[in-house]
Symmetry: C2
Subunit: 210 residues, 2 copies
């Protein structure tokens, strides 16, 4: 039996991150061992240990970015209110740029694409973002080809999704694309979720001008 290589997955976390943003993709990725694909997660921040998502449930960053790897199979970049503070930390943003460039795939959820855009990574690429924040994000980074109506967008290795729970649908699509729809369906059954499989089915596009 072929021994499967462990997939290395980096997850960017920070104070005031939106937890469900990254839990969308990771809830699928963490099931890869069920098809004999071992995974190893590293949570990376500009501090180690306790991370405080606002009033929310505490998280744990395993690694300070200064000590973190810069090559991952998959890098997950969530959004949240803390994105504004994050992009002011030039060293952390530089790390994210390097790690994203070195990663085989980059998956952003919600305003995670704001962080990628702030790092200059999405210029001339197709991408989407949270619909409530859409106008703000799109006007902040006019060199990105922002797609208004999209649950998620794929451009080469860059997967960007709409707000929060869109990360769950993108997680399904990513597994379906990289493994098979049968594998993705089984994971969705485990999560008891009915995935939205059509990237153009974006029920919240009207929030842009709400």
């Amino acid at each position: 039996m072929e021994e499967k290589r462990t997939l290395s997955i980096g997850v960017i976390v920070f104070d005031d991150v939106m937890t469900l943003d990254f839990v969308g993709p990771t809830s699928y990725l963490e099931q890869l061992p069920s098809i004999d694909v071992p995974v190893e997660f590293v949570t990376i921040s500009n501090k180690e240990g306790r991370i405080q998502p606002g009033n929310k449930v505490a998280l744990h960053a395993t690694t300070h970015f200064k000590d973190a790897p810069t090559t991952f199979d998959i890098l997950v970049v969530p959004g949240g209110k803390g994105r504004e503070q994050l992009v002011k930390d030039q060293e952390f943003l530089d790390y994210i740029k390097t790690a994203a460039e070195g990663a085989t795939y980059v998956l952003s959820v919600c305003t995670g694409s704001y962080i990628l855009a702030a790092a200059g990574l999405l210029d001339n690429k197709n991408a989407t973002t949270n619909k409530i924040a859409y106008n703000f994000v799109a006007s902040s980074f006019p060199n990105v080809n922002w797609v208004r109506q999209a649950r998620w967008v794929v451009d080469d290795k860059w997967w960007t999704s709409s707000g929060v729970s869109a990360g769950l649908d993108m997680g399904y699509a990513f597994i379906s694309d990289k493994y098979s729809s049968k594998v993705a369906d089984e994971m969705a059954r485990y999560l008891e979720i009915v995935p939205n499989k059509d990237p153009s089915n974006d029920p919240f596009v009207s929030s842009i001008d709400h």
Copy 2:
């Protein structure tokens, strides 16, 4: 203007917990400050600090159960593979029993109801659980009135949901019931999620005999 009392919300976490289980309800509850209801979350485990959900993204427990409050407005009890180990820790299980009895509302997701049932809290009550694990859970605790086809079940202060993402739908229903559907709809829009509002719409009931 009336000063709103801070809602205290306890979240049980443990090694090998399923993260998305508790993130379902907390993704709604953490938005209560948007309607001027302050919230305070405590994550409680049988250790403090880093919690390892299997191969998954690290979490942080703020409080050891021996130092934790026993009266909450809302206690959230997620499931996951670590439930088996948890129920063998009699002291932790006793704490959960005391805290759940003292809480105004108890919300369990997935096999979180296995933990509540193991503590003897669900005897003669209507409840549901993860559908893949249904037969195992139901046969383990025959004194509970297990409801096969239910996305979530409410029995007095006890809210139990089906597997993993069902916690998101129960979160919507809880906010809708305790505040208003308008508030819940606005939170769902923020999460960019289309909630399943019908507790009898249980797309995974067939998994029970799969």
